[in-house]
Point group: C2
Chain length 186, copies 2
């Protein structure tokens, strides 16, 4: 665990990584450039992270975890909408969207990075969603036999799908998604 | 439109591209290697396609269009399941899955390729789905006011999401997806 001064450097490095990736793209940033922007030596970065992918993943994870908590107001649909709207906002207004797209791209030829992305970003979301779904089912907000894992894939998968294909991600889009997932099209 | 001998070369090139990408990955194949495997000169490939990405995209598009027709038996759920099961089979047993993952990856830093992928693969799927949905709505298989565009994003997006994250894609998975999209979880 880094001490306070280290924590400042760590924060500066992650902030530099996420803002530079939004401007320059994955291929055009280097550990050296991140270090320069963060005002640290590049050995500082290499001491904490083994690769550029690892820095970007940590920056994306932190930036997501700052907004991503699934609230529990007692209204499951509204809570999911609140969370997804915060994710859309993060995607469309910060370096998180470009960073995530770069990680997905790099992960297609780097299985370790893809697995780390799953472990750091998707697995916590699955656990969070599982816990919240159990309460929603107890309260009758969704059927007890409804398949929460597939439901989660659909909700977060469709956001990623539209991000990856550079399709619009307006908050209103979420209304149609939630309507189908909760009510069905039949 | 290539004549018959050209068509043979074209076929050999696309077959070589899709099989090599499954074995070697996008970064490790070259136009030269595809030409060698297809038994053509590399100028033949450059005459028809401007880049490696363009060859792979055409190979993926042809391989998908051979299986992807959305049937119309009068049972909309069964027809979607038939089509999605064929796509899963293609993804898991041929070079199409690796090729598609490579195109997604390359497309994140190549907007022209990403747009071409949309135009060649996603736009035809949207049009096909729109036409089939209109008939399903006329027959009462789905509500007239149900949002077919978001429904399509959910169905095909979740398959892509699981492919991109190297998550299992078993045909049984489709049952849960169709259950939620048609019935909802409420």
């Amino acid at each position: 665990m880094p001490a306070s001064r280290n924590e400042q450097s760590r924060r500066a490095i992650l902030d530099a990584a996420i803002s530079m990736i939004g401007e320059l793209g994955y291929d055009h940033i280097s550990i050296e450039a991140i270090a320069r922007q963060a005002g640290v030596g590049k050995q500082t970065i290499y001491r904490w992270w083994p690769s550029k992918g690892a820095v970007i993943l940590e920056a994306a994870t932190e930036s997501l975890s700052a907004v991503v908590a699934l609230p529990d107001t007692g209204d499951f649909v509204a809570d999911i909408r609140t969370q997804l709207a915060a994710i859309l906002e993060l995607i469309t207004t910060t370096g998180f969207g470009p960073a995530y797209r770069c990680l997905i791209a790099a992960g297609q030829s780097d299985p370790d990075l893809l697995r780390a992305l799953f472990d750091r970003i998707i697995a916590p979301n699955i656990e969070d969603f599982r816990a919240r779904t159990a309460r929603a089912q107890q309260r009758g907000e969704m059927r007890a036999d409804a398949d929460w894992q597939t439901m989660r894939d659909l909700l977060y998968g469709v956001v990623e799908y539209r991000l990856i294909h550079a399709m619009p991600l307006e908050p209103e889009y979420l209304d149609g998604v939630l309507e189908i997932v909760f009510q069905g099209v039949r």
